[in-house]
């Protein structure tokens, strides 16, 4: 009893209502965590340690609106499809990352794409194809044309990034958030233009 009231009496963190859920997918070692950390903390971590599954949350201003981004950094090495499905189901948009200096990682994006489409059952799911490690152009194995061709085929955007130099890092996250946002607006328009329940709730709170 005591504990319960203790918990409940704690102030609820006042946070923006809109949360965009982004999932980082891609083979192991392509720099998913590096991109995430660069975006979150403006840091580049050189040491490589395989991720299991980490989630991050950050308050950002997207086109003048304060929103939250929830990033799920998944493990490239996750062996179990059933578990991976559960990760993917929680996402609203996907950054499918490969390393431009590793052809294999580019090939793997095909599998990830298929899996995501299967799980989300949505051809137009917000999705960006991301070629990371653009700073290491001299070791490039995947040509830009190749990647663009695949992006065109999937009807998605292709962006080359460098977690090290922070090139295009913010762009991929913001572009994806915009896609997610427009998808959400489309969805709410479809349901008779009704504002989202959560929004109305929050509005009431403010008035009170």
């Amino acid at each position: 009893m005591f504990c319960e009231t203790g918990i409940m009496s704690k102030a609820k963190p006042q946070q923006p209502a809109v949360i965009h859920k982004v999932i980082m997918v891609g083979s192991g070692g392509v720099g998913k965590s590096a991109l995430t950390l660069q975006f979150m903390y403006d840091e580049f971590i050189e040491d490589y340690e395989p991720t299991k599954a980490d989630s991050y949350r950050k308050k950002v201003v997207l086109d003048g609106e304060e929103v939250q981004i929830d990033i799920l950094d998944t493990a490239g090495q996750e062996d179990y499809a059933a578990i991976r499905d559960n990760y993917f189901r929680s996402g609203e948009g996907f950054l499918c990352v490969f390393s431009i200096k590793e052809q294999e990682s580019f090939q793997a994006t095909q599998d990830f794409r298929e899996q995501i489409l299967r799980v989300k059952n949505d051809e137009n799911i917000p999705f960006l194809l991301v070629g990371n490690m653009a700073d290491l152009a001299e070791q490039r194995q995947v040509t830009e044309d190749e990647a663009l061709k695949r992006a065109l085929e999937w009807k998605v955007t292709y962006v080359e990034t460098s977690a090290k130099t922070r090139a295009n890092v913010d762009k991929v996250f913001y572009d994806l958030m915009r896609e997610i946002r427009s998808r959400k607006m489309e969805a709410s328009r479809q349901s008779n233009g009704k504002p989202k329940k959560k929004d109305s709730k929050k509005m009431k709170c403010v008035i009170l």
């Binding site: 009893m1 504990c3 319960e4 918990i7 409940m8 704690k10 609820k12 963190p13 946070q15 949360i19 979150m40 299991k52 599954a53 980490d54 989630s55 991050y56 949350r57 950050k58 308050k59 799920l72 062996d79 179990y80 059933a82 578990i83 991976r84 499905d85 559960n86 990760y87 189901r89 929680s90």
Partner: protein, 687 residues
Amino acid sequence: MGDGLARILAKPSFEPESFIAKLSGEGEDALLDMRTKVHMLNDDTAQALKKNVYKNYSQFIETAREISILEGEMIQLSHLLSDQKSLMSSMMEMPLVSDRAIVEGLKGEEEEKESPEEETRRNLAFLLEKVEGCSSVADVPGRQLVHDGDLVELDAESHAQLQRVHAFLLNDSLMIATWIPNRRGPMRYRFQGLYELDSLAVVNVRDTGPVKNGFKILMFPESHMYQTDTAKAKRQWLDALEDTKKKKAVKDKQKKEAAMRLAEQQLQVALASPGEGDLSKSFTEDLEEEPVAMDRDFLSADWLQELPEDLDMYIAQRNFEGAVDLVEKVNEYLTGCPKGPALKEFRARIDHRVKQLTDGLMNELQVSPERSLRGGPRAARRAVTQLIRLGKSAQACKLFLRNRSAIIKYNIRQLKFEGATTLYIRCLCGVFFSSLSDTSKEFIKAFPGHYGCFSAFVIWAKQELQAFVSIFRRQVFESKASLTTIADSVQLSKNHCAELNAIGLDIEFCLASMLDISIQQVIEENRDQLVDGIFYRANDDLWRPQNHLTQVDCEKYIKEIAAAGFDIKPFVLEKCFIAITINSIQFAKSIVMFAEDLLKLFTTELEEFIAEAIAAVYRVQVKYIEDSLKNEQLVKEQAIILKNAQFLLETVMGKIEALYSARDLDLPQQLQQINAHNRKLRAMVRK
């Protein structure tokens, strides 16, 4: 008036001195008046006091009685609870034992860690006692507790704190239980959810916002976020989850490989015998085709999910019919279910309950001192019917018969032995044989079509008969009862046996063979006694005719003997003399009675023996007559002796022959031979 005085005296501000002073001032009359009033008040008070004491006393007694009743109930309740507790603990232990075999086969290294594992198992039992509604979780064999701890559940979106939970990481799944705020009793948590580790996605939530030490559990469509107190606790949780998932994956892989190997072997066997090839091939394919999802879907029906609890409830309510109905329903349903691990788990849960149910039903049939046996066979039928429906006809049969044995024993013990053996035996036979026939009728009703059980019944009947015979023997043969009593008793039981023939149970021959030896013994004894009697009487027999002094007395005597079945009129000499001696009359009476009794005991097996016994006695008597005829001193009496011989060999033998023919039997050879002696004796005299 009296009331007024009482009120004055009872006032808290009452001052005796001023009261007396005021009273004494009013003169003698007032004083006397007051005195009588005080006396009256005194009496009234005493009476009231007495009444109150009685009232309280009766209330006290009533209360005491209530308390003693309550105490008795409490004791019963505590017995019941301790029974259930032991049942629970035994149930907890049961699946663990069967699990041992699986674990042993799979992992060598696990054997080394046996003792700590044992401890976690006990932990599981202990912890699950604290969680409400998790019985289905505890049922699964082989589950162990790996890690547990208090967590705070957060809203996955807003990260707002929702509630306190306690999480239990088991070796194959994660169980979440919510904290019960106003708990009563030992239950501290309420079961919220169970997530299989196979597809459980764990997310480490980095400490980016105001929320620290969080992690998420994704299990589509649910996702939950939890928070630990410390970073270390979170680390432990994540490591434990990761570790357990890995271990489970390894184990599953091994199992799968083993299954594959088995399937391959089967395939090879199938290939070797081409006829069955297709069949087993399709079977192995079935095994590989993602069985998990299929059987899970199959089992997701609401009633199936609630079935274990419903069964528990029915068992607790002793609604055995309902429980068996459910079991039958689910069995029928599950036969169509694809095979897979979820089904196996579900089966294990159901089987566990079926076992409980069976135990309950068996307990119903169990003979225990605190249960009354007066329910009769019909009371047992209910439990028996349900057991048969559960496919436990053998146990049901065994218990049913055991129950019946106890009832028979109890009923026999209720009989009081009141001197007369025949009366007691009549009651005994009545109780025993009616129980036997009740049982057989009930048995036929309860086990229709279970012919295997009928042989058990026949064996049982024979055993019971044996028990009956041992009582019978003790009461009849060992109590030195007269031959007549014995014969009557034996005949009585035989008649009862014959009645059982009507329901198709022939145990007469069993009874006869069991009693045979005792009967032979008793016949021999009686025969010897009769022979001794003949010798004894011969010593002082002077072969004098009976003198009844007057004709009237003589005729009275003749009538008396005629009542015993002998016509002695032809043997009357000169009004009041009868040629037949008392000795002969006595012999005639005893031999006829002997023959009568023996014929009651008649069986084909004993035919020879009986005839021989009668003949033996007869022979001794005839020999005695012969000796008497040869005796020089008795030459004068020869006419009388011959008359007596004629009486014994014609009249008495005729009577015995009549007894035989009354049973549609011929006079045996031995006795016919004796009859021939008549002529021989006459010839002796003529010589």
